[in-house]
């Protein structure tokens, strides 16, 4: 007994998980399974055991074996070609996505691949994207062997149909270049302006001119190159008949540049080049911060990144690998354990147990018999099956669901922001001020008219408003990103803040979807009875039976006689002279159930019904607590594609007014959201599966919950890592604070504007005042936005 206890406490040297069964003991180290041991042996033979020294137990559990011929499709020329980045007569460059990568040990091992196989020339890891760029000598090693090598050490490449279609587009860096140029020019113009500000000797006229013309020269790249960013966005919204916040800024930049150029050329002054370069520079910083995109994440994924790149086709009794695009009607496909069903078809061989949880939201796998139709998107669990394709991949139920018209939403995000509303007033006020001061001076002192009118435009440009907005948004995006909530863009912050109704999906969102807890209710079972049940249940591969067998915790199995399995109903058999039946309610008790209210398996021995096993969903940690908090401020609802087994629990959790609906098809979810929006609600949808895809897009804010944000998620406004779901109420609060911070910063900038305009309308604004005032207001806004947004994150313990 004590020996057994000790065994339980042993941790696997490779993956760090507890060794549940007997640990494998090699080289004075314990491993939880053969898989982990094999990885260790490979590394040990090649002197790569530093892997274990860099991080503790860095390995990935190898208990689930990967099929031998899984990467056979990489021998196919076409597939090879579509995955290759670069190829010459000696080497091939390829980029693999390795979702298992997680620590510095992984990085080290993957970059030392050449020590495992000398034909791998080099490998370079991009940790952020979890990709490895591998260069190998294709004369001596094939792409398949490289993939198998990676798999052998525990990093199985994830290759989806999407990889074959298009290489990832390069991220545009033009904004960064523009920022760099603007910063360079800004700094140098400031430097060149010092002599003028500090009072250069008037006798040195030639020197003064040199400085001025240098400034003109330096301002050209700012005006023509760096500011093009602003011109483009202002023009874009003007074309839509909309006065965006960029328009007055462009006006200010153009007016400043024109007036300064005039002053220098006519020799009347030094101009405001430094202020202009400053505006553009700060503006671009704000933009770069706010537009920080999560390159490795895609918010517009479609089914192709979910589907495999190739499948096994059976032709003339032979198995072959075929690219998914080549699959035609009436092809016979072989689907292995844990593989995705790529097209709608009829089951022709084997018994299918299909996990549709991602597609429909059903938490338990569905059993299918030969001759039945199986739909694309499900995952086969258990033995291999064969199927006849009846609909091509692009026409399957799943892809149709995806391509539905109403799911494509177009709206110009930027025009919804409250900042644009504010800026509109601001623009009109500035124009009015400028005009009225011009009129005043026209009657009093014509010489001052142009000076005063342009000064107002220069000093009052709404850059402060834009700055406070972009900087706050940028910072909030960063704080949320660090907590693994990735927003599509800055507008999403405002949308989240405006939400008043939150709809959750159940399977995979509130629950983990994978692990179900088994509960038994009924007459108590003796150890002996349990042993018999285990014997019967272990005969079947049905997930329910497997779970029951595991629940009994009995390994000493008895013999089963007259075993029979009735698909969709249950199993029966004689164990030690007792006739035991396990199965659905109607099968075991004879009472017919209208609709499955819960997922239950009934047990009877010799005709007496003893009790039932029910599956309870396993809720994510702390989720009930989060719901209780959200309940106080928001209306909540649950839309689930699953059966109503959890209704009572959810109702209690969400409150009695909450709307909780089951058996929801994807269309039902979409309609439900639409209906809520028609009643004036601003709806946030939190979901994970394909069945939520429509609802996620329809909702004002759609948040996709994912176990691993790099993996597949339906198109959405935001992606949240599942373990951060409990903090949802804090994230919403932070988004609300965002607006307050922007307003505070804006108020401060108004004060600066009042001071500046006081001089400007009098025509007294000297370039030096402008040069001091501009950076001052920008920097104080920077401090306010960063300070306040970090403070509110810190107060909520989000930092």
């Amino acid at each position: 007994m004590s020996n057994k206890e000790k065994a339980i406490a042993v941790q696997c040297y490779h993956c760090g998980e507890d060794c549940v069964d007997k640990p494998v003991h090699v080289h004075e180290k314990d491993f939880c399974c053969e898989g982990c041991r094999m990885v260790y042996e490979i590394l040990n033979q090649n002197g790569l055991c530093d892997y274990y020294a860099i991080s503790k137990n860095p390995g990935i559990n190898q208990r689930i074996k990967i099929r031998e011929n899984k990467f056979a499709f990489l021998d196919d020329e076409n597939i090879q070609q579509s995955l290759t980045v670069f190829k010459d007569d000696k080497q091939t460059h390829i980029s693999f996505y390795l979702p298992q990568m997680h620590c510095s040990s992984c990085l080290w091992l993957l970059e030392n691949l050449h020590r495992l196989n000398e034909n791998v020339i080099s490998s370079k890891v991009n940790f952020t994207r979890k990709e490895a760029d591998i260069i190998f000598n294709h004369r001596n090693v094939s792409m398949r062997e490289v993939a198998e090598l990676l798999t052998a050490i525990g990093y199985e490449p994830y290759i989806s149909l999407n990889d074959a279609k298009n290489r990832k587009p390069k991220v545009s860096k033009s904004k960064i270049y523009k920022l760099g140029v603007a910063g360079f020019c800004f700094g140098n113009i400031m430097l060149m302006s010092f002599p003028e500000y500090l009072g250069i000797d008037a006798k040195e006229q030639s020197l003064v001119n040199i400085f001025r013309y240098l400034n003109v020269l330096l301002s050209l790249p700012v005006f023509f190159y760096s500011s093009s960013e602003l011109y483009m966005s202002a023009w874009k919204s003007l074309k839509h008949g909309f006065l965006s916040i960029d328009a007055p800024i462009v006006l200010a930049v153009v007016v400043t540049f024109g007036r300064s150029l005039y002053e220098v050329l006519s020799g009347t002054g030094s101009g405001y080049f430094d202020s202009m370069a400053g505006i553009v520079f700060f503006m671009l910083i704000g933009r770069v911060l706010q537009d920080k995109t999560y390159e490795q994440l895609s918010f517009e994924r479609d089914y192709t990144s979910y589907f495999p790149i190739a499948v096994t086709r059976v032709k003339d009794e032979k198995e072959e690998t075929a690219p998914l695009q080549d699959i035609k009607l009436n092809d016979t496909l072989l689907i292995h354990n844990q593989e995705l069903i790529p097209a709608d078809g009829i089951l022709t061989k084997g018994k299918a147990v299909v996990d549709y949880s991602f597609v429909t939201g059903e938490s338990l796998p569905v059993e299918k018999e030969m001759g039945e139709i199986i739909y694309a998107g499900g995952k086969q669990i258990g033995s291999n099956i064969e199927m006849l394709v009846v609909k091509e991949v692009a026409q399957s139920y799943l892809t149709k669901l995806w391509n539905r018209e109403e799911f494509s939403r177009n709206s110009i995000d930027s025009e919804r922001s409250f900042v644009h509303l504010l800026s509109k007033y601001f623009t009109w006020i500035v124009l009015f001020l400028s005009l009225s001061s011009a009129t005043y001076w026209y009657f009093n002192d014509v010489s001052r008219m142009w000076v005063a009118a342009t000064s107002v435009l220069i000093i009052a440009c709404p850059c402060a408003l834009l700055l406070s907005n972009t900087f706050t948004n940028g910072n909030i995006l960063r704080i949320l990103g660090r907590r693994h909530l990735y927003l599509r863009n800055a507008q999403t912050i405002e949308d989240i803040a405006g939400v008043d109704y939150i709809v959750f999906d159940k399977t995979g969102t509130l629950t983990t979807g994978r692990y179900n807890e088994l509960a038994y209710s009924g007459m108590p079972l003796s150890k002996d009875v349990k042993r018999k049940i285990a014997a019967l249940a272990s005969q079947s591969t049905h997930p329910m039976s497997k779970a029951i067998a595991a629940w009994t915790n009995e390994n000493n199995r008895a013999k089963v006689a007259a075993y029979e399995e009735h698909t969709g109903k249950g199993v029966e058999g004689i164990v030690d002279g007792e006739f035991i039946t396990l199965g659905s309610k109607s099968y075991v008790t004879g009472v017919h159930a209208e609709r499955d209210i819960e997922t239950a398996t009934y047990l009877s021995i010799d005709g007496n019904v003893l009790g039932k096993f029910t599956f309870r969903n396993h809720y994510r940690n702390h989720v009930p607590l989060m719901i209780k908090r959200l309940r106080k401020k928001y209306e909540l609802a649950v839309l689930s594609g699953d059966n109503a087994g959890e209704k009572d629990y959810l109702q209690e959790l969400l409150g009695f007014n909450a709307n909780i609906l089951f058996h929801q098809k994807p269309e039902d979810k979409l309609e439900a959201i639409k209906h809520l929006q028609q009643t004036g609600k601003r709806v946030m949808m939190v979901g994970d599966g394909l069945n939520d895809a429509g609802a996620l897009r329809q909702a004002d804010v759609g948040i996709a919950v994912a176990e691993n944000s790099n993996n597949f998620t339906p198109a959405s406004d935001a992606i949240l890592e599942a373990d951060q779901l409990p903090y949802l109420y804090k994230f919403i609060q932070l988004c609300k604070d965002n607006k307050k911070v922007v307003m505070a910063a804006f108020t401060v900038s108004i004060l600066y504007n009042i001071v500046g305009n006081y001089y400007a309308v009098q025509g007294l604004l000297s370039p030096m005042y402008a040069a001091i005032l501009m950076p001052c207001s920008s920097i104080s806004i920077l401090l306010i936005t960063f300070g306040f947004s970090n403070f509110s994150a810190w107060r909520m313990r989000l930092k």
Binding site: N46, G47, C49, D50, I54, S104, L107, W108, E111, H114, R115, E118, I121, S122, V125, N126, F127, T128, R129, V171, K173, I176, Y177, G180, V181, F184, G187, N188, L191, E204, L207, I210, L214
Partner: protein, 57 residues
């Protein structure tokens, strides 16, 4: 007088070099992955005591 001109030329040249260096570094992808390089520099030493099959390239 002419000294100032010389200094100006020198300072602007240096500044331009830095701008060019910045643009080059962005183009070169030095800001693409901010996580692996700081880790990578920590494991440069190849282990000595193990049997060496293929030394680093």
């Amino acid at each position: 007088m002419s000294v100032i001109i010389l200094l100006l030329i020198a300072s602007i040249t240096v500044a331009c070099l830095f701008l060019a260096a910045f643009i080059w570094s962005v183009k070169n992808g030095q800001y693409d992955d901010e996580e692996s390089p700081p880790l990578r520099m920590l494991f440069d030493d190849p282990p000595l005591e193990h049997k060496e099959k293929t030394t680093s390239l």
